[in-house]
């Protein structure tokens, strides 16, 4: 099989991995012959599904011994199988990098003979890139559940980011749909990675020469809509992963039915809107100071389809508003629909010079279409205080002229921002 054919099979098999981030660390140095990483990450192209391409995302092999219900590469599927040699992946990465197609490599794999043998082969690719090619670009390695701690450590030393897929939002679903994977074999490497990242950071404060362990941090991914968990359960899980395991990112991947299996739901289309709402809620957890319990409750455990989760929160908390933009602190400004971290920072910076007027809010870049119902400028409100929630909901949905406002349906995988 020639390399072009292999690439077709092994990139096609890797496309369901959601992560494409290439941000999070800066790597420079004289031991490096080619390549560096950029703090903010760089997108190099956008594929026909509109997702950004930043890394050469491939599997080392799709020849899997496991038979997970949701996975296109499962052993019982009659798909063409292929495996790269380490050298083939290294050469592809270097050739693509030299032409500026990519920021680096994202290598994952099906489980071939066993977790350790597979992980060893993957780590070797990264080590050849670093030691022989002296490659300074970005490397993301997937950790195979059940790999030995020693291999996890080697992976963390060679890669910028490492990730273990949590796969499904609960242990029961994992047991039902991926019976050969155990919860412990996923959580143990996650914990180990968290500990190693922590101790590497400590060592580096003592000596700048101490090795970096996964300097761009740890991420994970789960499939949404293949199992019965509520959005609240999912957000609680993510919250725990951020708070207790120190993860940088949790990725949500709308379930795409690729197999016929009676354990799986039958869907006409992937639940893209739900995935989008989960990403918005995830943003609230990481950048807006919200907790999962503020966003959802046991009485209403799923995200609203019509409103983004922040607007939904604002509608449930009329007593919090209106917020006075000339006085409110940063964290309060962040709770206003239409004001994000950038606008909130700009508001705080601008009011050191002068009082902010309604025109000033527009210049700063606040989305007034949403914000105007929730703020005052020096006591002046923009809209008649419309405290009746039902009417406010209506106006937010339909816009001012009674015309339906444009739905915020940007179904993007926000990959760049960590």
């Amino acid at each position: 099989m020639d390399i072009q054919e292999k690439l077709g099979i092994l990139s096609g098999a890797a496309r369901y991995d959601a992560s494409c981030a290439s941000s999070g660390c800066g790597r420079e140095g004289t031991a490096i012959r080619v390549g560096n990483t950029s703090q903010g990450g760089i997108c190099h192209s956008w594929s026909d599904d509109g997702r950004c391409i930043s890394l050469l995302k491939v599997l080392l092999s799709n020849d899997c011994r496991y038979d997970c219900a949701y996975c296109v590469n499962r052993s019982s599927n009659p798909v063409p199988r292929a495996s790269f040699t380490a050298r083939e992946v290294v050469d592809l990465t270097m050739e693509f990098y030299r032409r500026n197609y990519i920021e680096g490599l994202f290598l994952s794999s099906a489980v071939m003979k066993g977790p350790d043998q597979t992980m060893e082969d993957m780590v070797r690719v990264a080590e050849i890139l670093r030691n022989e090619e002296r490659f300074g670009g970005y490397i993301h390695l997937k950790v195979i559940p059940g790999s030995s701690p020693e291999l996890v450590r080697r992976a963390g030393l060679a890669a910028d980011r490492i990730s273990v897929n949590i796969e499904l939002p609960s242990a029961e679903s994992l047991h039902r749909l991926a019976p050969q994977k155990r919860k412990e074999s996923i959580l143990e490497p996650m914990k180990l990675i968290g500990t190693e990242i922590g101790s590497s950071l400590v060592e580096r404060t003592l000596s700048r020469k101490a090795p970096k362990f996964a300097p761009a941090g740890q991420s994970t991914q789960m499939i949404i809509g293949a199992s019965p968990e509520t959005d609240l359960q999912i957000l609680r899980l993510s919250q725990g992963l951020y708070r207790k395991m120190n993860l940088k990112r949790v990725y949500y991947s709308a379930f795409v039915p690729v197999n016929d299996d009676n354990r799986l739901p039958v869907l006409a289309t992937p639940p893209l809107l739900r995935e989008h709402r989960l990403y918005q809620a995830d943003w609230l957890l990481r950048f807006y100071g919200f907790s999962a319990e503020e966003i959802l409750s046991d009485d209403a455990p799923d995200l609203d389809e019509s409103f983004d989760p922040k607007t939904a929160w604002a509608l449930r908390h009329p007593g919090f508003f209106p917020v006075e933009v000339n006085r409110a602190d940063y964290n309060t400004l962040l709770r206003v629909p239409g004001i994000g971290p950038i606008s909130a920072k700009r508001i705080v910076a601008a009011r050191r010079f002068s009082v902010i007027t309604p025109e000033g809010m527009k210049k700063i870049g606040v989305v007034m279409k949403r914000a105007k119902y929730f703020i005052t400028c020096s006591g002046r409100s923009f809209e008649k205080p419309d405290r009746e929630p039902a009417r406010l909901r209506q106006r937010l949905l339909l816009g001012d002229g009674g015309e339906p406002a444009e739905q915020p349906r940007q179904l993007v995988l926000p990959g760049l921002l960590v």
Partner: protein, 232 residues
């Protein structure tokens, strides 16, 4: 910049001054200011000391080659000398807002081109990248690639502006060129390009096809030199 230096030297507040490309009218006579590189350098040094971030804002503002905002730039510089870097937060001020927005736009394109630029290998082993950006972003781009593709010898061409950057492995040089024809590509180049196109088409999830989103992230004006978009 030297015109701004002269005005600020004469009138530090410069509230009432207006700066534009010379155009005498019947009723007003402008003051003609000779280009004076030394005065411009001195002003830059002053800004650099007082407001280092503002130097970047001005640099990116210049890349946009926007006409008609000379007076805004003058007032922005005068304010920066008073307030320092904090001035970039004074977005409710019309002139600050105008200058910062233009600079931001150029900065965004410079960042975008860091991803979208494509190098091709020529017969003699050197690398060539062509582009036609809206803003004159060749300087920050060349700097970026001199750190990244540091063991390759390459050229970056801004086809529209006929300007070029050259990295020989050690030093970065800028110049202009009158005529240009792309030399032959190396034998290997075609094969690697074909592999990139294979990757590009198979990495998309068919069930999530979304050409509108693709275009809004990657406007069609950039496709001309994209390896993966040839023939579209």
């Amino acid at each position: 910049m030297s015109a701004i230096a002269a005005i600020i030297a004469a009138e530090p507040e410069s509230e009432g001054s207006v700066l534009s490309i010379r155009q005498d009218t019947l009723f007003e006579e402008g003051l003609f200011i000779r280009t004076d590189p030394i005065a411009a350098e001195a002003l830059f040094a002053r800004i650099k000391q007082r407001a280092p971030d503002v130097v970047y804002t001005i640099w990116y503002f210049m890349m946009a080659e926007t006409e008609g905002l000379e007076t805004s730039l003058l007032r922005y510089v005068a304010l920066a000398l008073v307030h320092g870097d904090r001035i970039n937060g004074h977005l409710t001020h019309d002139d600050v807002k105008a200058v910062v927005s233009v600079a931001r736009k150029a900065g965004r394109e410079a960042h975008r081109m860091k991803g979208l630029l494509r190098f091709e290998q020529l017969r003699d082993g050197t690398w060539l990248a062509r582009m036609e950006p809206d803003n004159n972003v060749i300087q920050p781009l060349a700097k970026h690639f001199s750190r990244r593709l540091r063991d390759q010898k390459w050229f970056i061409l801004d086809v529209g502006r006929r300007s070029a950057a050259h990295w020989d492995g050690h030093e970065l040089r800028f110049g202009t060129l009158e005529q240009f024809e792309r030399p032959d590509l190396s034998d290997e180049e075609q094969q690697v390009q074909a592999m990139w196109r294979t990757f590009f088409s198979t990495i998309a999830i068919p069930e999530r096809r979304n050409p509108r989103l693709q275009k809004s992230n990657m406007p069609a004006k950039y496709w001309k030199y994209l390896t993966e978009k040839q023939g579209e």
